[in-house]
Amino acid sequence: MVSRGQAHTLEGVVASLVLLSGLVFALQVTAVTPLSASTSNQFIENQQQATAEGVLATAEETGALERAVLFWDNSSDRFHNTTGRNFYTNGGPPNEFGRMLNRTYDGTGVTFNVYVTYVDGSDDLTRIRMVYRGEPSDNAVTASRLVTIGDDDVLYDYDETATNVTVSEAGDLYMPDTDDTSGVYNVVKVEVVAWRM
């Protein structure tokens, strides 16, 4: 008969294990909901989505979106003032659309990518990057707008003035003419992807 009321070492360890497994089980049962305070909070995602859509709508209304799509340097076959890779990495492009994006997103802890999707020569959709600042997180939001480019639209210079080179004349533009019979040159989709850094 044991006369000393003293636990074995093994009993102490097993009791700890029982406590810990109870805690782990309770953690598995609880769930993170869309309204919990986290980066995937529904309110934050709504706000980011609405902000991205607002920037695109404003850019489309003032015509800055079309000018940004045609901000192409025909002689060096890239967007103006991009070096090395053919996309911007340090914020928006140096035109009105880029300034709108920077004004909206600088200093808010939210970063963005901008992609341009167009119809290529074999009637497939091709996507190129206009701004790429990293791989978006799992809780990124996207907003997109379609821009129609006509045959008579001109390219824009690095200081945002219109050149007299139309898109049909520009040999090295990234998108081809999809329809020679009508006045439409191509239809591009500009997509802004925003996520919290």
Partner: protein, 177 residues
């Protein structure tokens, strides 16, 4: 002292320490685990989100185009002396009635970075020229903001939207507390 159990004092010390440490850790951890599920400012969050969405998608817009604000209606919204004919609200009523919010405090304001210093300032309206200016500008006549001033203490939920007004991408802020 004779012992007939195969356990030294050291064994006992180790066993009890492990057990007590685990008990204390579990007891300290459980309140932190329950914290996201406590009632917080959830109602204000939803109100800020809905009011901001309603403003830029219905109340102030032109022809149903989301995010494009109608200049006349936006000015009438913030200034009760202007006519609200043809707008989707009645500016003779209070702010809470216009937006359908009953027991929260609201502050709406429009901001824009006029001086390009990466900080958005409150926007004011210049009557003589009919344009948006910063409120520090001497030509500013009245400010595009509405209602009470948010308190310095306590939590204030802010909803932010970007919209087009008079050729600029302005930021619309909704503060709820």
């Amino acid at each position: 002292m004779t012992r007939d159990r195969g356990q030294t004092t050291l064994d006992f010390a180790v066993g009890i320490s492990v057990f007590l440490l685990t008990t204390v850790a579990v007891v300290a951890f459980v309140p932190g685990m329950l914290e996201p599920f406590q009632t917080g400012p959830q109602e204000s969050t939803v109100i800020a989100d809905r009011v901001a969405t309603q403003l830029v998608e219905e109340t102030l817009v032109e022809d149903g185009k989301h995010y494009i604000l109608n200049g006349t209606c936006t000015l009438a919204f913030f200034n009760a002396s202007k006519s609200d004919a043809g707008c989707a609200f009645d500016n003779a009523r209070g702010l809470e009635e216009r937006l359908g919010v009953s027991n929260s405090n609201l502050n709406l304001s429009i901001h824009y970075d006029f001086d390009s210093d990466k900080v958005a300032e409150p926007a004011c309206w210049n009557e003589t020229d009919g344009r948006l200016v910063g409120c520090g500008d001497p030509d500013a006549d009245w400010q595009l903001s509405e209602n009470r001033v948010p308190p310095d203490t306590g939590s204030v939920i802010v909803g932010r939207r970007v919209a087009h007004l008079e050729g600029r991408a302005v930021e619309v802020f909704v503060r709820v507390w």
